[in-house]
C-alpha cells in the first residue's frame, strides 16, 4: 500500500514536470511569439512587455525562472490583461466552477444511480427501455447541444429559468443539468449492468431464501456491490465535468475558470493558457490519486500491489 502511494506520487510529479515543460516549450514555439497579434503597438511598449515577461532572456533561463515561480505557487501573469495574474483569475473563477461542478456531480450520482436501479429491477420492461433511451440520448449528444436545447426550451420558450449569467440558485439549474447529462447517462448504464449481474449472485439468493424483504436485499445487499464500479468511474467523471465546464460556462456566460480558459484560447493569451493548464492538471491529477487510493478503503478485496498500475 505504502509502496503504491509512493509510486503513484512519483509518477504524478514526473507527469506534472512533463506538462510544465511541454506547455512552456509549446507556448514559446508559437510563430511570432505571444505578442504577435499586437503589431500596432509601438516598439517601446513592445520592449517594456518583453522586459516584463523576461522574453529577452535565453529560453532556458525563462524556463528556470518560470519553474521557480510555479513551485512557489505563482502561476505568472496574463499576457493580455494588464495587472491581472493567473492566480487572481483562479481565485475569482474557481469557486464558481467548483460549485457548478459539485452540483453536476451530485445530479449525475443521484439521477444516474436511481435510473440504473429502476432499469435493472424492471429489466426488459418499459421502465428499463425508457431509462436506457434517456441514457443513450445523454450518451450521444455533445454537451453544447444539450445545453443549447435546454436553454432554448426552458429560457426562451418557457421562461422559467434565466438564460445566462450567475448569481441566484435559479441561474445554476440549467448549466448544472447540462453538465450532468453525459455522466448521468454513463452512471445509469454502469449501475444497470452491475445490478443485473449482482442480483444473480448466490448471496442474493441466500438473502432471498432467508426471507429478507426486497428493499433490504436491493439497497443493503445488492447496491453496495453494484455501486463499486461507480467509484472507479469518479476519476473520469470529474475529468468529464471539467471538460464539459469549458463549453457550459461559455454558453451560459458563467464567470468560472472554464470560461476564462476558453477566452484565453480565443485571445491567444499564452500566459493564462499556461497557468490554467497547470492548475487544471494539478487539480485533476490530485483527484485521480484520491480516487485511486480510496478504492482499497471502500473495497477490501482490492489489493494495491506492485505490478499492474
Amino acid at each position: 500500500m505504502g509502496h503504491f502511494i509512493i509510486r503513484r506520487l512519483v509518477s504524478s510529479i514526473l507527469a506534472l514536470l512533463l506538462i510544465i515543460t511541454f506547455t512552456f516549450i509549446l507556448v514559446h514555439m508559437v510563430p511570432g511569439g505571444p505578442f504577435a497579434s499586437e503589431k500596432q503597438l509601438p516598439d517601446s511598449v513592445m520592449r517594456n512587455l518583453e522586459e516584463k515577461f523576461h522574453l529577452n532572456d535565453p529560453l532556458w533561463l525563462q524556463y528556470v525562472k518560470y519553474l521557480g515561480q510555479v513551485v512557489k505557487g505563482d502561476l505568472g501573469p496574463s499576457y493580455k490583461y494588464e495587472n491581472r495574474t493567473v492566480n487572481e483569475f483562479i481565485r475569482h473563477g474557481f469557486p464558481v466552477s467548483a460549485t457548478l461542478g459539485a452540483l453536476a456531480v451530485a445530479i449525475a450520482l443521484v439521477v444516474g444511480i436511481t435510473l440504473g436501479i429502476i432499469a435493472a429491477l424492471r429489466q426488459n420492461r418499459w421502465q428499463d427501455y425508457l431509462a436506457m433511451v434517456i441514457a443513450t440520448i445523454g450518451f450521444s449528444a455533445p454537451s453544447f447541444i444539450v445545453a443549447s436545447l435546454l436553454m432554448f426550451l426552458f429560457a426562451y420558450k418557457i421562461k422559467i429559468f434565466p438564460t445566462a449569467m450567475w448569481g441566484t440558485p435559479a441561474h445554476a439549474v440549467l448549466p448544472s443539468l447540462a453538465l450532468a447529462t453525459l455522466p448521468t447517462a454513463f452512471i445509469s448504464r454502469l449501475i444497470r449492468a452491475n445490478m443485473i449481474e449482482v442480483l444473480q449472485q448466490d448471496y442474493i439468493k441466500t438473502a432471498r431464501s432467508k426471507g429478507l424483504s426486497e428493499r433490504v436485499i436491493i439497497y443493503k445487499h445488492a447496491l453496495k456491490n453494484a455501486i463499486l464500479p461507480v467509484v472507479t468511474y469518479l476519476g473520469p467523471l470529474i475529468a468529464s465535468i471539467f471538460t464539459g465546464s469549458f463549453v457550459i460556462e461559455k454558453i451560459f456566460a458563467i464567470p468560472g475558470i472554464g470560461r476564462d480558459f476558453v477566452i484565453a484560447i480565443t485571445n491567444r493569451d499564452y500566459g493564462l493558457i499556461l497557468g490554467l493548464t497547470i492548475f487544471y492538471a494539478v487539480f485533476l491529477m490530485a483527484m485521480n490519486l484520491i480516487v485511486d487510493l480510496s478504492y482499497s478503503l471502500i473495497d477490501p478485496r482490492i489489493k494495491l500491489t506492485r505490478g499492474e498500475g
Binding site: P142, I145, S148, F152, V247, T266, M285, G309
Partner: protein, 304 residues
C-alpha cells in the same frame, strides 16, 4: 442358414447422417458474423453508418449548391424546396454543408482510429512481447503520460500548431493511443506463452514476424471493438474542439463547427443547430451500437 448375395446388400446410408453428433463446423469469424447479424441494434447501426457514408460521398452534389457558395439575399432561410436544410448566416446551403461536414467528421473519426491502431499495436505489441525491462520502461511511460489530463494536451497542441485537419489528427492520435497500447499489451502478454508461438519460435521466425503474423491477428477482436468505439469518441472530441474555436476553419465545415455556429443562432434559426446536431447524435449512436454488437459477437461468453 446359407448366405446368399441378396442378404449382403449395402446399408441404406441416408438415415445415418442424422445420428452424427454436432453441426456443420463454423469458423470463429463465421460465428461472429452470424451473432452480429442477429443483433438488431447493431445491424441498425451498421445500416445507418452505410447510409451516412453514402450521403457523405454523394450529398454535396445533390442540391446544386456548393459548400462555400454565399448568397446574402438568402441568408438564414428556413428549410424549403430550394434549400432542403435551410441556409446559414452567410446564405450558404446547409444541406450541402452538412454532408460536406460529414466527410470531415467521419474522416476525423476513421483516420484517428487508424492512427491510434498503428501506434497502439506497435507500442503495446513490442512492450508485451519483449516483457521484462523493456515492458517495465515502456509501460511506465504510458502510465506517466496517461496521468496527464488528455484534453488539455489536445487543446495545447491545437492552440500552438497551425489550425487544420492535419493538426486535429495529430492531436487526437497523440493522446488516444495510450489506451490502445495498454489493451494490445495485455492481449499479447496472455498470447505469447501459447504453444503456437513457441512452435513459430522453434521454426526460427523473427520476433517481429511472430508479432505481426501470429499474435496480432489473434488479438484483432478486442482491437476492432476498441477502434469502432474510438471513432465516435474522436468525432465527439472534434465537435467539442470546434465549439471552443479550435476545429477546422471556415469555409471548411465539420458537424462540430456547423453545430457550434448553430448554437449562437438557436433562438432565431433553430434549424441551423438542429440538422448537424441530429447527425452527430445519429453517428454516435450507430457506432456505439455497432461497437457493442461486435463486442458481444466476438466474446463467446456473452452468447446466450
Amino acid at each position: 442358414m446359407e448366405l446368399t448375395r441378396e442378404l449382403l446388400q449395402p446399408l441404406d446410408k441416408s438415415g445415418t447422417e442424422a445420428e452424427a453428433v454436432g453441426k456443420p463446423r463454423t469458423t470463429y469469424w463465421q460465428d461472429v458474423r452470424r451473432n452480429f447479424r442477429q443483433n438488431k441494434l447493431a445491424m441498425f447501426g451498421l445500416v445507418v453508418i452505410i447510409v451516412l457514408l453514402a450521403m457523405a460521398i454523394t450529398g454535396p452534389y445533390l442540391s446544386g449548391h456548393t459548400y462555400d457558395e454565399q448568397n446574402y439575399q438568402m441568408a438564414n432561410k428556413p428549410p424549403s424546396s430550394e434549400y432542403w436544410f435551410g441556409t446559414d448566416a452567410l446564405g450558404r446551403d446547409l444541406f450541402t454543408r452538412v454532408w460536406y461536414g460529414a466527410r470531415i467528421s467521419l474522416a476525423v473519426g476513421v483516420l484517428t482510429a487508424c492512427m491510434v491502431f498503428l501506434i497502439g499495436v506497435l507500442y503495446g505489441g513490442i512492450s508485451g512481447y519483449f516483457g521484462g525491462k523493456v515492458d517495465e520502461v515502456m509501460m511506465r511511460v504510458v502510465e506517466i503520460l496517461s496521468s496527464i489530463p488528455f484534453l488539455l494536451w489536445v487543446i495545447l497542441l491545437m492552440v500552438v500548431m497551425e489550425p487544420g485537419l492535419k493538426t486535429i489528427f495529430i492531436a487526437l492520435g497523440a493522446v488516444y493511443w495510450l489506451n490502445m497500447a495498454r489493451l494490445v499489451r495485455g492481449q499479447v502478454l496472455s498470447l505469447k506463452e501459447q504453444e503456437y508461438v513457441l512452435a513459430a519460435r522453434v521454426l526460427g521466425a523473427s520476433p517481429f514476424r511472430i508479432l505481426i503474423r501470429h499474435i496480432i491477428p489473434n488479438t484483432m477482436g478486442p482491437i476492432i471493438v476498441a477502434m469502432t468505439l474510438m471513432i465516435p469518441e474522436a468525432i465527439f472530441t472534434e465537435a467539442w474542439l470546434s465549439f471552443l474555436g479550435l476545429g477546422v476553419s471556415a469555409p471548411m465545415a465539420s458537424w462540430g463547427s456547423l453545430a457550434s455556429d448553430g448554437v449562437g443562432a438557436i433562438s432565431a434559426y433553430p434549424w441551423q443547430l438542429f440538422f448537424p446536431a441530429i447527425f452527430i447524435c445519429l453517428t454516435m449512436l450507430a457506432f456505439n451500437f455497432v461497437g457493442d454488437g461486435l463486442r458481444d459477437a466476438l466474446d463467446p461468453r456473452a452468447r446466450r
